[in-house]
Amino acid sequence: MKKRRRLSPDTVWLILALVMGLALGRMQTVARGNQSVDPLTRTVRTVYLPLGTGLRPMIEGPGMFFSGIGSAGAVAQQRQTIAQLKSAMELYAAEAAEWQRSYESLAKQQQGPNYGRIRVPAQILLYSPYRATITLSKGREHGVVVGQGVVADGGLLAVVTQVDAVRCQAALITSNSQAVGAALRGEPPAVGLVRGESSQRLIFEYTQPVAIKPGSVIVTSGFSEHIPPGVPIGFVTESNKDRDFGSLRAFLVPRAKVDRVREAWILK
């Protein structure tokens, strides 16, 4: 008679463990098939995930500290690069603002009146504050001649005084060597000459005994071969009568200011 061999407790535990492992695996597979998580996995995660996640900064912290020391050089270099980029960006923004201003000025001038003349756009190449002159990028080849008016910023800026083939020079109306025929806009009429006193002030000398109020606009008179009438020159700030010489004077603030413009229009 064959003697029946009994399984040892260890083997029984092994078999039990294997069966349980398979059963748990099956449970996991079934749950995944139903697009859910089996209860055992959920329990394990409920216990371990919050605790482990809370523990993570404590473990990663020292690592990050030493890693930070190791990469300090690179960080300093990055900081320097960022500073350079920042200054480049600021420079770019300033240039962009300048271009925007220039564009707006051009657009404004483009839409401005032509006073019955052909407007030749020109770039201001040079500005001499001491001689109160500007050099423009258009010359004889573009039909520019001496005596033509230069407008910018909504008013008369200068008068052409020298011309060569591709450039010309113009005296600003603020120059004391420059005189332009001018008139008071509106009634009663007052005609005279405007000449420069300083870079910020003009003098309008006229002969008709009319009272000119502050704020009145003085425009070109048109008694000139090249400068058309009606181009604004400036605004009256005050007027007085010189008893000694019998002349009448008004002081103006020029409408066009050279430090505000980069481009101008020559009235051909």
Partner: protein, 160 residues
């Protein structure tokens, strides 16, 4: 030391090893390899207890690892049960294992567990996983050496 205290301490350490898997996900442990402190501790405790108990430790380890990582629970459980059981049988046969021998044995078993897992459910990037597994084996041997030091102090040797 009282073996019961040893078991409690081991239980705590085993739980912390599971937490470490969440707090310090594999790759962050050491560059190149995925250390598995839970597996190392499970296999190590198997060398201190009876094969039946070792199988249960293997089952519990598979459940925890599978639950945390969302991996194939059956594969993890079976590979760990079989290895823990075999390791316990081996250790029972040779009662005079020193620390280095025990660490190497556990490291080799951990490597076998990984290879078994690869065989049970082959990953997409087999070459890369295999390379990481070999590096992980070295890390696991080092871990096992440290843990052996502690556990040998707690359990002296087999306590059951």
């Amino acid at each position: 030391m009282n073996p019961n205290i040893g078991w409690v301490l081991h239980g705590i350490m085993w739980f912390l090893a599971g937490l470490l898997m969440v707090a310090w996900p594999g790759g962050a442990m050491l560059p190149g390899g995925l250390a598995d402190p839970l597996l190392v501790l499970t296999l190590l405790i198997a060398t201190f207890c009876r094969p039946g108990q070792a199988a249960l430790w293997g089952l519990a380890s598979g459940v925890i690892a599978g639950g945390i990582s969302g991996g194939d629970m059956a594969g993890l459980c079976l590979s760990r049960i079989v290895l823990a059981f075999a390791l316990s049988m081996l250790a029972q046969r040779d009662t005079a294992l020193n620390k280095v021998q025990r660490s190497l044995l556990v490291g080799t078993a951990a490597l076998l567990a990984s290879i078994l897992l690869i065989l049970v459910s082959p990953p997409a990037e087999l070459g890369r996983v295999f390379q990481a597994t070999l590096l992980a084996a070295l890390i696991n041997v080092a871990l096992a050496f440290g843990f052996t030091h502690i556990l040998q102090y707690w359990f002296v040797r087999r306590v059951f």
